[in-house]
């Protein structure tokens, strides 16, 4: 080693010590070292939120080299395939992103490839800060399997307040209300409800089902208590069919991204849209609209007081190469500090109920109202976004909807739903 390099190194060391001693972070820096590989699908728009978390981790554990392994692709379609080959090949990342709930439990917990995180929840006192309904979705009888970072809501109805006032209609409180007001909207030459490509139709279905069945009936599907061939469930399909008739389904919805679907609500060529609350991020950031003025929101018809949630979470695979660093990562994710750093950038709300959600600099008025609902509403899990049903069921659910829309027969759809329940084992029993 040359003298010059040596002196540079010592200079750097002195500098580091100085910075370290004056650093404002009260949190003790530890002696964790090695590396930490974080596997996720947060690239592009969602990249900065992850970067903020990684920077925070770097501050707390400067000895750890963080490897950000992202595989781009909406809602993780590509990332999940890569993850499966890596896990099969015996090379798990230290921690990976997964939709909280059955997407994790049905695949990786059932495969006995995850570590129970109950110890971490106890150590960090998380049982007091995460809602009980959420912890239920993350758990099986054997343990708790992942740490939720953020919360999104699936059952939100979006509309344009100015237009709705102009047409003289009220925001429907139930699906029957919606069907009642539908002909009037159609007469005005406006699409009552806009849907987009295939998955957004499935997304609509879960809000319709929740609206018709209620929270208890919805949860009953996944425990086997709701009879999926019964009268009430047939009514779900019946209502869904009528709702689709009030939409652009079958006309020009194929291949229509959700952003362009909601654009039609904004420009007034459609009245309503059911989409998850990532739409709020698009409406406020990309379209620069003010919540409540440029766009309005309400719980999807019939789902007031119920929060159909989905959540990104991270788990700890068995055999993670740097387990200690990964546990520290999970501890950061669940901390108030971590959640308040991540969520404002992601456009979601913290899973913790004690987040800094009333701070208007961090959370806009939509997110504040969502956070208020999160603290009080009944929490149920989304089917389409991985919380309520395993990957086999969620992956094949689209064929049930296809069958229904081709046949228009609730009985055929219900029978197919039943068959899928049995083959995937997603509906309890």
């Amino acid at each position: 080693m040359s003298k010059r390099l040596l002196s540079l190194c010592s200079l750097a060391l002195v500098f580091a010590v100085m910075v370290g001693s004056f650093a404002p972070t009260a949190r003790a820096q530890d002696d964790l070292s090695g590396s930490l590989e974080i596997f996720s699908w947060w690239a592009g728009n969602e990249g900065p939120a992850l970067e903020a978390l990684l920077a925070l981790y770097g501050e707390q554990h400067p000895g750890v080299e963080v490897i950000n392994a992202t595989v781009a692709g909406g809602s993780g379609v590509n990332a999940r395939a890569v993850l499966k080959t890596r896990m099969e090949g015996g090379e798990p990342p230290d921690s990976f992103q997964v939709h909280a709930g059955q997407e994790l439990i049905g695949t990786w917990v059932a495969a006995e490839r995850m570590e129970d995180l109950t110890f971490l929840f106890e150590e960090q006192g998380w049982f007091d800060v995460f809602p009980e309904g959420l912890i239920d979705l993350l758990s099986t009888e054997e343990g708790i399997w992942s740490v939720p970072v953020n919360i999104h809501r699936s059952n939100v109805l979006w509309y344009n307040p100015a237009k709705v006032a102009e047409w003289g209609i009220e925001v429907p409180a139930t699906w029957d209300d919606f069907l009642a007001v539908c002909p009037a909207i159609q007469d005005a030459g406006v699409t009552p409800l806009v849907v987009g490509e295939a998955w957004t139709v499935n997304h609509l279905w879960e809000s319709v089902a929740l609206g018709v069945l209620g929270a208890e009936g919805w949860n009953g599907i996944w425990t086997g208590e709701t009879d999926v061939m019964g009268e009430e469930f047939l009514a779900v399909w019946d209502t869904f069919g009528k709702v689709l008739e009030c939409s652009n389904f079958g006309e020009d919805n194929a291949g229509l991204p959700w952003e362009q679907a909601i654009d039609r609500v904004v420009d007034g060529s459609a009245a309503f849209n059911v989409m998850g609350d990532w739409a709020a991020g698009y409406l406020t950031t990309t379209l620069e609209l003010v919540p409540g003025e440029g766009f309005g929101y309400a719980p999807a018809p019939g789902t007031d007081g119920v929060f159909l949630m989905l959540s990104d979470s991270f788990g700890l695979p068995v055999g993670a190469p740097n387990r200690d660093a990964a546990v520290a990562w999970l501890a950061l994710l669940g901390s108030k500090e971590g959640q308040d750093a991540f969520n404002p950038l992601k456009g979601s709300i913290p899973a913790r109920t004690d987040g800094d959600v009333t701070n208007p600099e961090l959370y806009n008025s939509y997110l504040q109202s969502a956070a208020a609902d999160w603290a009080t509403d009944t929490i149920v899990g989304s089917l389409v976004h991985g919380a309520a049903a395993n990957e086999n069921f969620a992956g094949n659910f689209g064929t049930v909807v296809d069958l229904f829309t081709a046949s228009g027969a609730p009985e055929a759809a219900a029978a197919e739903f039943m068959a899928l329940c049995e083959s995937s084992g997603a509906c309890g029993g």
Partner: protein
């Protein structure tokens, strides 16, 4: 001619690629074949368990694909591919020949036109698919063109999302006929090759294969069972057949490959000696008769090559469809798309079975071609 040393060196030179081929092609084909007759992923709970036990289940997976109501997707995909191949081949050959015919008129700037027509081939299917997806959108591209130019009402043609089905048949009645159709197609291809190469023993092999196909159909009668619950079979409502939503894909694929066929035909036409044409004209042939009786017959081997090349592209088409309609389009299905879906729902055995059916379909086209090539080269 060759001494021993030459042979050793030659063998050493090709052995790396032989070994790699053996591992990365044939071994994995074998592995896929094994998964397709196993129960891996049939129970989703154990799909990704470490060291999961994979049990031999015979042809159950194939049976399910062919007869369960939930797997109508596969049957739609299989039949769609068949129709797609026919329409894609047909339109490429006709358009390609027509372009070659036009360019053969010794026009000015032939080189420029040749480049223009051949150019789409240099794009990847994903690029073609993305562009044509924009063009064929329900509210975009071609449909709003009349509006942009003349201010007329935009068209509402559903290029990629039409739900009408042509040439419909019921799977339960038509399924067997469909297979017979495929067997006859294979038979026709064999006879074509046999005739071309004037190999009489080829007839025997061809006939043997057809018999084998038919008897296999009988032997695996299990596969040919009717749908387990026709009421839930989407084909009952939609009908199995040529789905009009495929036409968008056919247009895009033809746009990309017709120029290539043109180049093949043009080279073929130029290879025919001018004296032959002259002679025909002297004998009093009209120009269309020259094409009918002199040029077309001599282009037969080129047509065969084009059919083989386009045929194997279209049977395994995936990227174009993926880029144009995505995985979840209700109307457009091809087997490759279903394999990707298998990754989403952890159905490894089912996906492998889909892959094996595709392999079988493609080998029906490729094997006779390779075989006849091999025989010709030996002679």
């Amino acid at each position: 001619m060759y001494n021993r040393k030459d042979k050793t060196i030659a063998f050493l030179m090709i052995s790396p690629s032989l070994i790699l081929l053996a591992i990365f092609v044939y071994f994995f084909i074998g592995q896929t074949a094994w998964y397709s007759v196993s129960d891996w992923g049939v129970d989703p709970a154990t799909a990704l368990k470490k060291g999961v036990e994979k049990n031999y289940v015979g042809l159950d997976n194939y049976h399910t694909l062919m007869s369960s109501a939930s797997d109508y997707e596969f049957r739609l995909a299989f039949i769609s591919t068949f129709y797609f191949t026919i329409f894609f081949l047909g339109s490429c050959l006709i358009l390609g020949f027509f372009l070659a015919f036009l360019l053969d008129q010794r026009i000015k700037g032939e080189g420029v036109f040749r480049t223009i027509f051949l150019f789409p081939m240099s794009l990847s299917f994903v690029v073609t698919g993305t562009i044509w997806n924009w063009l064929l959108k329900p509210r975009g591209g071609l449909n709003i063109l009349p509006n942009k130019i003349f201010g007329a009402d935009p068209l509402e043609y559903k290029w990629l999302n039409s739900d009408s089905t042509l040439f419909k048949f019921e799977w339960m009645q038509g399924g067997n006929l469909f297979y017979l159709g495929i067997a006859l197609f294979a038979f026709a291809l064999f006879t074509f090759v046999a005739q071309k190469r004037s190999l009489s023993w080829f007839w025997v092999v061809a006939a043997g294969l057809v018999l084998w196909l038919i008897s296999a159909a009988g032997f695996w009668g299990k596969i040919w069972l009717p749908i387990d619950d026709p009421v839930r079979d989407i084909g009952t409502y939609q009908g199995y057949g040529y789905n009009a939503a495929l036409s968008g894909i056919v247009i895009a694929a033809t746009w990309q490959m017709a120029g290539y066929v043109m180049a093949l035909f043009l080279a073929g036409i130029r290879g025919i000696s001018e004296e032959l044409r002259e002679a025909a004209r002297v004998d009093g042939c009209a120009e269309w008769q020259v094409y009918m009786h002199i040029i077309l017959p001599q282009l037969r081997p080129i047509a065969l090559s084009a059919i083989i090349i386009l045929g194997h592209i279209s049977l395994k088409i995936f990227d174009l469809v993926y880029a144009m309609t995505g995985i979840d389009n209700k109307y457009v299905k091809v087997p490759g798309i279903l394999m990707i879906k298998g990754f989403r729902s952890n159905e490894w055995a089912r996906s492998s079975a889909v892959a094996m059916v595709m392999l079988f379909a493609i080998s029906l086209v490729i094997i006779p071609y390779l075989w006849s090539n091999l025989r010709t080269e030996k002679r």
